[in-house]
Symmetry: C2
Subunit: 320 residues, 2 copies
């Protein structure tokens, strides 16, 4: 008989999950008390939270429990990176039906642990409840190591726009899965498990980035956040963007412009920012420019090759 | 036409919710960027997280949105208090169907804000997603103001057990609501909106509490956490406990022993701890004693008047 959460019970699950946790030396009180206590030598804590819901953010038939764990951790750790900070710890809330196999919960946990260990992050606490659909709530913490945070509001006219990481891969993977296919494998894997360039957040901060944003909603949408917060006009130069081969294949098969994946696809958790031209770090790709707003291109807007992008949907919740 | 989350949209909701937030001076970067940044002058952050799910932790017909918000904040802030810490900030994850009236979400938010303001806590960030059932995920933060945390593991033989706050009220309220009644009003209100004695956590720490625990699962269950973590035997003296009048009324109407509500009812978020006899703070009620384990009463167990309590169910998730 398959062991389920109903037979394992809350305390059994918590015991199984916390047994395997290794916690760094900055974890003063780990899981098992009313709350955790972590050291914050910098005197400032960077905090972000994300909620993943089955059916909305993942499907059990599209993603393994392990992949859901990797993704839930990744998207939070990426938000920490996008402040120019280094992730340090996280807490997890988990809801699931009583008939969920216990193995599923343990694999999810392993995914969370493995993604966290990529960046030497400790899981310091959590909560476990019963719910109809699987829910994964992650709150992640980071340190600025003495630096100021890099906000969305610091872009200045004359800056260049540059990014690092993947654009459009997860969206192309979703397009494939939604049509009942499983290939190209590279984009399906990208949908299941993003690969944020974690080290690039602090690196961009040290290089003097004037603004930074995690690409979770889509490049144009997230650049829009920078444009609004900084009150500047941003123009993306489409010639600087390439459509990788797997995305071209999906574009051809689905009748979509491949560039649309790159410009509007979210959930790869690339990092985009603005820099004075001399400050762009090696390995980043310059894809646009920052200007003062004018009548034609007002502050707060993003254009592609000087014009509004017709297909700029981005990733909006509560709308279908 | 009633405005719903579908028509308001994610960004509309976030704008409405963040507009009313007042943030303390320790909030260096508030809502609106990839992550928040808060000052942690103590150099240590106390962290706890809880997940509330519609149908499991609250019902729309039993609790108003405002009450759900108060309760979601309260149960997390109580965990901070139970470390002997003072709450400082929190982040909120919110999931809901697109057809939920926007007013419901705004009332929930007002409940969170009002409970947080009781203890001068700032809401520094959040996430909003679509889900079938309403989900509220709260992660709360606190400071020890230079003191060591008060753990569950510090109880010592010879200590007295004392508590402050309400015991059994929320459970009695649940029993009433489950039978389709709405009175006694006092216990129904207690189910909807706990009143944790927030200031008592730091006060107990200053008085020299050797252990502390938030009563969220039920007095015996939570004392069990202290007994296990401290490897001591705890005996509760039932004569020291009173069954308040509204609980007696519910007990009589439902055929339950009123003392059972007091011993096993959770979710009132009273505070229980252990102290050397001279250290028990004024206003706390001594209800038991701590001893070394022996054959009759092994370490890690809790007894009532020297014997196992027959009805010790506590509050277990994943079991019905």
């Amino acid at each position: 008989m398959t062991e389920t959460l109903g037979s394992t019970g809350e305390f059994g699950l918590i015991a199984a999950v916390t047994k395997g946790l290794s916690t760094g030396e900055d974890v003063l009180v780990g899981p098992g008390d009313d709350a955790a206590v972590v050291a914050v030598p910098d005197g400032r804590m960077v905090i972000t939270t994300d909620l993943l819901v089955e059916g909305r953010h993942f499907r059990q038939d599209w993603s393994s429990a392990y992949d859901v764990g990797r993704k839930a951790a990744a998207q939070n750790l990426a938000d920490i990176m996008a402040m120019g900070a280094r992730p340090t710890s996280l807490v997890v809330g988990f809801g699931a039906p009583a008939d969920l196999p216990t193995a599923w919960a343990l694999e999810l946990n392993q995914g969370l642990v493995d993604e966290a260990e990529l960046v030497e992050v400790s899981i310091v606490g959590g909560d476990t409840v019963q719910s109809d659909k699987i829910i994964v709530s992650v709150t992640a913490f980071g340190t600025l190591d003495g630096r100021p945070p890099v906000l969305r509001s610091g872009a200045r006219p004359g800056d260049e726009v540059a990014y690092i990481g993947r654009l459009g891969w997860a969206e192309a993977g979703w397009a494939v899965l939604a049509r009942g296919f499983r290939s190209p494998r590279a984009v399906v894997e990208a949908h299941r498990r993003p690969q944020p360039p974690y080290a690039e957040g602090p690196r961009a901060a040290l290089a003097g980035a004037s603004s930074l944003c995690d690409v979770s909603d889509g490049l144009l949408s997230d650049l829009g956040h920078i444009a609004v917060a900084s009150q500047v006009a941003i123009d993306v130069h489409s010639q600087a963007l390439t459509v990788p081969e797997p995305l071209q294949a999906v574009a051809a098969a689905t009748g979509v412009d491949g560039l649309k994946f790159v410009l509007t696809g979210g959930e790869d958790h690339a990092l985009v920012g603005t820099f004075e031209p001399a400050d762009v770090p090696e390995g980043w790709t310059v894809i646009g420019s920052v200007a003062e707003g004018n009548e034609e291109r007002p502050a707060g807007t993003v254009t592609v090759d000087g014009a509004a992008y017709a297909d700029d949907a981005g990733h909006a919740h509560f709308r279908s």
